[in-house]
């Protein structure tokens, strides 16, 4: 992770967008910008919370370890998103790790200054609370799906949700670089199962593949495997 000068333009990130004009200079003085390489860990599950990150550029996976070779990806995040907020609360250790899926730029706010920011920016605090409420809602929906929806439906859901947050590149493929293993970890299943079920989805004409790239051919058909 390399510290650099480039940073948030003070408009696009979750923090700068929502805190008061008067506070922005303080944010600007305190924040640190970093370049992150693909595959690099931004923070690690179980280590002490040092601060909060905001993604200026790039894509990150937020994941929770199970065994040495198994994890669950709880979130995929892109530019503008906040990272590390799961470290807030009574516990002083990050409950998850964050890894860059592609090279990116992030802005770091140390936890002390972040706390001060919350104190003097009720509007930001309010939005952060609402953000947490939304995340919790989302998380519990995923939980229910994990408990009751068959893997094929979870994969369909994941692909649709990825399309809606990351969109498609000009050639129509999902605009994210996600390995099959990551897709498996995101849907709470195994590599081989993802592979087999994706093949079925191809056979049925719901999706098309080109190497690691995924093209959603028939979103409606995918929807039939999901709920809501």
């Amino acid at each position: 992770m390399k510290r650099n000068k480039q940073g948030c333009d003070l408009k696009s990130c979750f923090l700068c967008r929502l805190c008061s004009k008067e506070w922005l200079p303080a944010v600007d003085a305190h924040r640190q910008s970093f370049h992150v390489n693909k595959g690099e860990l931004l923070f690690t599950e179980g280590t002490e919370v040092t601060g909060i990150y905001f993604i200026y550029k790039g894509t990150f996976k937020v994941h929770k370890k199970w065994t040495e070779d198994k994890e669950l990806i709880v979130r995929l995040a892109r530019s503008g998103a906040i990272l590390g907020h799961r470290g807030l609360g009574n516990d002083v250790f990050y409950p998850v790790s964050a890894t860059a899926l592609e090279p990116g730029e992030v802005c770091f706010i140390d936890i002390g200054f972040f706390q001060s920011t919350l104190k003097v920016n009720p509007q930001f605090l309010y939005e952060l609370m609402m953000f947490f409420a939304g995340e919790l809602k989302e998380s519990e929906k995923k939980m229910r799906n994990l408990a009751h929806m068959p893997v094929k439906g979870r994969i369909a859901q994941a692909l649709l949700s990825i399309q809606s947050t990351f969109g498609t590149s000009p050639d129509g493929f999902l605009d994210i670089n996600l390995s099959r293993q990551d897709l498996a970890s995101y849907t709470g299943t195994t590599y081989e199962t993802v592979f087999r079920l994706m093949n079925e989805l191809v056979q049925e004409g719901s999706i098309a593949l080109s190497g690691r790239n995924i093209y959603i051919t028939d979103a409606d058909k995918l929807l039939t495997y999901t709920v809501q």
Copy 2:
């Protein structure tokens, strides 16, 4: 649900404990107290959010529907807890239902007044945000367990967690009235599976059963099925 006069003592609930002394009279003027019968729905998934509840007495399950005869219980709550906060956020519909597991008393705050409370009680807002952060952390841990931990471990985990929140009655049984079906919904599995695996736990001497009551004989042994 019957409206009554008895209500919060202004000290024990999540709201009254944390908002400013000056605001308490307003809370007192606005809150409504209700008696809830066993099995009664406090609010229903998909209906419009009317307000937030605080449990004065009793036990509630917070659950999310899957099919007609399947659900996932996302939370078990007891006196002092907040209910309905999952209704906060952009969406105006409750994403879950809450059902009384035994007769109880709740205090209701309409959403409008709750919003005002947030505006004038930054300390409460801060604690609410922290509370959400904790819930999210918890939810994602459960999610990972649902994805990777075998059912037996999830049951063990559930029993231990119930013991730590609800404690035991004088005779040593878990102090909660939870049907096997509810335990199945709480661990994301089926009635029969819960039944069979609980039998195994009895055989192994980890727990003992007496009707619907559960006694944890060997917490350490239960722990070996779980993680952390």
